[in-house]
């Protein structure tokens, strides 16, 4: 039986991390106990003109206080509605959803780009191996960066070169000659493509967390598929469901 729940939960904290990016803590025993790094939750809007839940990756899990942290970017009306909520408000949530990362490896390279950075934080905390974190930003607005330092060496790339390596995360990895035996990555598809190519080049295992527009969030509607290399055992076509079979896939499983 599944450990998914859907319920109204209390927001224990809502803070603006930086322009357009917010951090929300929600309190729920079931969610906090069942959630794993790399999973996500679906948040429902109160505004009736927006019917579809918003999938938000899990940034931190605090089992002691039975809370989950969600760090999200305001991209539309739904996330804007969330950003206007306050501690004490309740929000409807379904989760935990998706497979999450498989904790493995001896020397891990965690790669996060943009709003793909938050899920790397819980992963960094959960891995019991050497962790190196490579974070890709647009500019010197390095949200969450400092929160990674307790868990490993942090390397930064910025598109505008204002901090760290000028360019993308792969440029930074090459420049700093980051070594490891496994890659965990979340970020925009072009970045994941680069990561997949780099992993193949170096013969590294790589777990990639994918993103796609979702409707049901539980694998029923087949909206959020990605192309799989092999015929998928559920769909029997070369499609995997990001919300259910993913969001985390081994690089060689998927076509990007």
């Amino acid at each position: 039986m599944s450990d998914k729940v859907i319920k109204n939960v209390v927001i224990t904290s809502m803070v603006k991390v930086t322009d357009g990016i917010y951090s929300m803590w929600i309190k729920d025993k079931d969610l906090a106990c069942n959630a794993k790094p790399g999973q996500f939750v679906s948040l429902y809007c109160k505004e009736g003109s927006q019917l579809l839940p918003r999938p938000i990756s899990i940034c931190e899990i605090d089992r002691e206080n039975e809370t989950l942290r969600l760090v999200y970017r305001v991209v539309g009306k739904g996330t804007k509605e969330f950003s206007k909520m306050n501690a004490g408000d309740t929000i409807r949530v379904m989760g935990p959803l998706g497979n999450g990362f498989t904790l493995e490896g001896k020397k891990a390279i965690l790669i996060g780009g943009g709003i793909g950075i938050p899920p790397m934080l819980e992963l960094a905390k959960s891995l019991d191996c050497e962790v190196q974190v490579v974070l890709g930003y647009r500019n010197n607005d390095l949200f969450l960066k400092d929160e990674f330092t307790p868990y490993g060496k942090v390397i930064v790339s910025t598109e505008d070169g204002s901090v760290g390596t000028k360019g993308n995360v792969i440029d930074a990895i090459r420049e700093k000659d980051v070594q490891g035996d496994i890659i965990f990555a979340c970020g925009p598809t072009p970045m994941l493509r680069g990561v997949k190519a780099y992993a193949q080049e170096k013969g590294l295992k790589a777990q990639l967390s994918l993103e796609e527009k979702m409707a049901c969030g539980i694998g029923a509607c087949l909206a959020c598929v990605c192309q799989s290399k092999e015929v998928d055992s559920h769909t029997h076509v070369k499609n995997k469901r990001i919300c259910k079979d993913g969001p985390v896939f081994y690089a060689e499983e998927v076509e990007l």
């Binding site: 039986m1 019917l51 796609e212 527009k213 409707a215 694998g219 029923a220 509607c221 029997h236």
Partner: protein, 303 residues
């Protein structure tokens, strides 16, 4: 007061008049985490074809005001896998009827699926005729009354289960299509399928869906659906399964009072996975509150 919620659709008895709209509920497995499938009148499966379909590229869905547009492209594993896996799964829930939605690109495709299902333990077939008829240049079967009658006849010749023809709302006169299906021998009708819509992402200057157009569903379209169900109820004798934007029991009752003998819930499942059970419960409460002993007494009561 005990209320009779049982309905009889073309000779098949459902425990209550609520099923799910094809494509929004898979074959039930994913939603069984939230819904006891035995509580539903029927489960209508995702459309299945004679062979596996890959479906459309992504993005396949986009939210719209009070609704959504989708262009999944009827991705499905094909009838063989479906018969081996999905039907046995659903047979675990003896209280709910099984309605298999059938899609195809040509009449031959549909026939193959229907014949393949003849000896399977399913209760009803729902024929999705909003698929483009490839041989006829891609106009949907459901947009041409002659094609509707022809395909209905073909289905009836081969089907061992009652045949529900699912009508497309993207037509000038829905009653023309309904009468054509009835003339072809349809046992029941379901409507409406989605309205063809489009969304443009003005910042990216691109279509929101890879397929450009998609099917609009959700409460936004309910008034069109209720209107068409009412018109069809005046035009044909066969039972109607009404759908289009049902979010709550009152919405469902609108369809019943307009002339539907049962209803399907689709997009609302994405907004609230428990919605089906809430609607069944709410309809029952409405009957109790209003002294209605039998839900069937409300069918078509507004004229």
């Amino acid at each position: 007061m005990s209320v009779n919620m049982k309905v009889n659709i073309a000779g098949v008895e459902w425990n209550n008049p609520v099923t799910v709209a094809s494509g929004t509920f898979g074959s039930g497995a994913e939603y069984s985490d939230f819904v006891d499938l035995n509580q539903l009148g029927a489960v209508t499966t995702k459309g299945v074809a004679n062979v596996p379909w890959q479906g459309n590229p992504t993005p396949r869905i986009a939210e719209t005001y009070g609704g959504m547009i989708n262009a999944i492209g009827l991705q499905n594993p094909g009838i063989d896998v479906f018969a081996k896996r999905d039907i046995p799964y659903l047979k675990q829930f003896p209280d709910t009827r099984i309605i298999v939605n059938v899609c195809g690109r040509s009449i031959e495709d549909y026939c193959e699926v229907v014949e393949r299902l003849a000896d399977e333990p399913v209760d009803m077939l729902e024929i999705n005729i909003s698929c483009p008829n490839v041989k006829e240049g891609g106009i949907a079967f459901g947009q041409d009354p002659k094609a509707v009658e022809a395909i209905t006849k073909e289905m009836k010749q081969r089907a061992k289960q009652p045949v529900i023809m699912k009508l497309s709302p993207n037509v000038t006169d829905i009653t023309e299509m309904a009468k054509a299906a009835e003339a072809g021998g349809a046992d029941a009708l379901s409507l409406i399928n989605t309205l063809t819509g489009m969304k443009i992402d003005v910042n990216r200057k691109t279509f929101a869906l890879a397929n450009k157009t998609g099917g609009l569903s959700g409460p936004a379209i309910k008034p069109v659906a209720v209107r068409m169900v009412y018109q069809v109820a005046q035009a044909v004798q066969i039972p109607i399964i009404g759908m289009g934007g049902i979010m709550c029991a009152e919405d469902a009752l609108e369809f019943i009072m307009a002339g539907a003998s049962a209803v399907s819930i689709g997009t609302a499942n994405f907004h609230n996975p428990n919605v089906t059970l809430e609607v069944i419960d709410g309809m029952k409460q409405f009957c109790e509150k209003n002294g209605v002993k039998d839900i069937n007494d409300l069918v078509g009561c507004v004229k």
